[in-house]
């Protein structure tokens, strides 16, 4: 059965697009045909993060309006077999996303054999964000350890349980996962930053993973290569763990404790 997974947050700039690209790539690497749809109409970015911006011809709105078909609009990833992206329109506004239009695109993708349909949500709680979450079977609520992000995540979790198709049709509720990103164990240790346990207490959502704050995320976006492909990077490994948990493999949390440098390494500056 195909799964529709929305990557959402309410707040902007918390790592939704970074996570959509990483998790979409990780899922495709398991051999499952995967598409990542950019719902950020007017602020297309997923193509840049995935490094396929020069191959975008048509977009989601073109498909919804019948100006192009799905095959013309899907961009095949050059590195990862079985991975596709459906770009956002750069020129229209978010009201161009109709519920019927989005539903048809999702159904056509399912008919085409896609197993994972990842919806990269725009920020906010307007039409674009609502359409990105409406058809979701599962949600990855992306949260930074910071007050406004946690509050917005709580808000969007409420929307998932009241404004999604699953809630309106009284089906099984959307399965909601928490993904904490930009986590700094050192600042948590100093009690300057909300901890994983704090966020877990506040939101009460199942934890999918914790991605550390990492410079590798910036270099990955500079290169246009999802950070999960960099398995030398803590952030890349943490995304891989999250993907594994998503498909049911148990993984212990890593990179969540501040490692104080030992006496010898301090002495030798290692």
């Amino acid at each position: 059965m195909a799964k529709v997974i929305v990557v959402t947050s309410g707040k902007g700039g918390v790592g939704k697009t970074t996570s959509s690209a990483a998790i979409g790539t990780g899922l495709a690497l398991t051999g499952a045909k995967t598409v990542v749809i950019d719902f950020d109409i007017g602020l297309r970015n997923l193509d840049l993060i995935m490094g396929c911006e020069r191959r975008v011809v048509y977009d989601l709105i073109n498909v919804i309006n019948g100006e192009a078909n799905l095959q013309q609009a899907l961009v095949k990833d050059k590195r990862t077999p079985g991975l596709y992206i459906l770009p956002a329109s750069q020129t229209r506004n978010k009201d161009a996303l109709s519920k019927e239009g989005v539903e048809k695109v999702i159904n056509d993708l399912k008919a085409d054999g896609f197993e994972y349909i990842i919806c990269d949500s725009p920020a906010g709680i307007e039409q674009g964000a609502m359409m990105a979450l409406y058809f979701a079977d599962e949600a990855i609520v992306t949260t930074n350890p910071e007050v406004s992000s946690v509050r917005d995540s709580d808000r969007i979790t409420g929307m998932l349980s009241s404004k999604s198709k699953r809630s309106e049709m009284q089906l099984n509720p959307v399965k909601v996962h928490l993904l904490i990103t930009r986590y700094c164990p050192e600042r948590v240790e100093k009690e300057e930053m909300l901890s994983i346990e704090d966020i877990d207490d506040l939101l009460g959502i199942d934890l999918l993973g914790v991605i550390p704050e990492s410079q590798d995320v910036l270099s990955a976006s500079n290169l246009g290569e999802p950070v999960i492909l960099n398995q030398d990077s803590d952030a890349g490994k943490a995304y891989q763990d999250a993907v594994d948990r998503l498909i049911g493999i148990e993984r212990e949390l890593r990179f969540v404790k501040f490692e104080k440098k030992g006496f010898l390494s301090r002495l030798f500056g290692a």
Binding site: D154, E191, E192, D200
Partner: protein, 88 residues
């Protein structure tokens, strides 16, 4: 949550994270209770006041309607409190 159990520990907080958590706890609880409250509640309250006024003299402040969502028990409660004036 299984993943968390092994490093969950309670310790006194000193930095600003503690304050952040306390503030969030309050605002999140508040938003949950107001999100659950249906939009028709003010109108319902006005109509109840009107009905009771047919029989006795009360002011609109004497009727309090509150919607309480007891998600854990799978029910919602509509609590209506009418304060009756003495000797009327």
């Amino acid at each position: 949550m299984g993943l968390l159990s092994y490093f969950r520990k309670e310790s006194p907080k000193k930095g600003s994270a503690k304050l952040a958590k306390d503030r969030l706890q309050i605002i999140v609880a508040h938003e949950h209770s107001s999100a659950a409250s249906p939009a028709y509640l003010p109108e319902l309250q006005c109509e109840i006041v009107a009905v009771i006024r047919k029989y006795m003299d009360i002011s609109s402040d004497d009727v309090k309607c509150e919607f309480i969502d007891k998600a854990e028990d799978g029910i919602s409660v509509l609590e209506v409190n009418v304060a009756l004036p003495r000797n009327k």
